[in-house]
């Protein structure tokens, strides 16, 4: 997975989000060892202190834990990951509804629309 940093939001927040996404999507499996701060920073092309800050934030969120000698690991607590997944899903859906309401759709219309599009796309392909 590539790292994408946009220009107008704090970089460490974007790093937190992207690592979180990797954990939720399973790109990083529970219990996996995470690369060193320096390696991750290089991969993302960001400042090591910023990456450090992002990982500290993930630790605080409970998605990552540090072991004094051997480095950082993805949490093995699946419940924690599911929780994060749900939180993220709610956030995405909230955002989506917000936008659709701006376009003038009511809740029922939106749901109907989703079902229609979902049904259509299942008829054709999986994209």
């Amino acid at each position: 997975m590539k790292w994408i940093i946009d220009s107008d939001r704090p970089i460490y927040k974007q790093l937190v989000e992207q690592i979180e996404l990797k954990i939720i999507s399973g790109a990083y499996a529970p219990g996996d060892k995470i690369k060193s701060v320096r390696e991750l920073a290089m991969e993302a092309g960001v400042n090591p202190n910023t990456m450090q800050k992002a990982l500290a934030e993930l630790e605080r969120m409970g998605l990552v834990f540090a072991q004094r000698t051997s480095g950082r690991f993805i949490t093995e607590d699946n419940k924690m990951i599911d929780e994060a997944k749900k939180t993220l899903a709610f956030k995405e859906i909230d955002g989506f509804f917000e936008k659709m309401k701006q376009l003038g759709f009511e809740k029922e219309e939106i749901i109907a629309l989703i079902e229609k599009i979902e049904g259509d796309s299942h008829g054709h392909s999986e994209s």
């Binding site: 970089i11 290089m42 092309g45 400042n47």
Partner: protein
Amino acid sequence: MAILRAKALTKKFGNLSALSNLDLDIPRGRIIGLLGPNGSGKSTFIKLATGLLVPTSGEITIGGATPGVETKAMVSYLPERTYLNDWMRAEDMMAFFGDFYEDFNRIKADNMLQDLNINPRDRLKTMSKGTKEKVQLILVMSRNAELYLLDEPIAGVDPAARDYILNTIITNYKENASVVISTHLIADIEQVLDDIIFISQGEIKLISTVDEIREKHNKSVDGLFREVFKC
């Protein structure tokens, strides 16, 4: 303790004030962007830190000492100019650095030459300006210094080399060392910076971390810079 400290630092050229009353602490373990339009005093500040210029008044210290032999051993400086002796080969320059800088890591330098496809046997005379700049950067980054002062390191290089340079700065990161990068091309380097120092007309206009700026102004440092300096 700060690696670099400036107190009421002032430099005048005749009647012209290049820097006036600058107070600044640069802590260790940071990557710092020194930003400002052309002629704002960035190069003057860096030259004062390297000892190439002597302050008119005020003082500047590196690791607690005023610029001299002791601080020059701690500072790795990349000037805007190419200072390489034309008649030498790249490998001669490596030997030269090895002779004069105890902290020069020849193996690292050789690896970097290889990464950038530069033949150490090539004479500098036959190299393009861009290649010479790369050789110079390799020399500077292959030192295990405590303070790196890079004056416009990415101005003339192609995007691939620029990425390599930024990567080198990241991999080279050490907790006891700081890197100061002076540039007007902020967008390219914003992601690797901890802090930025905005300087204009010889005075500091703003010191902040990159994320603080993004949080407060909802825009990138580059965006803010363009707005403030309209350039």
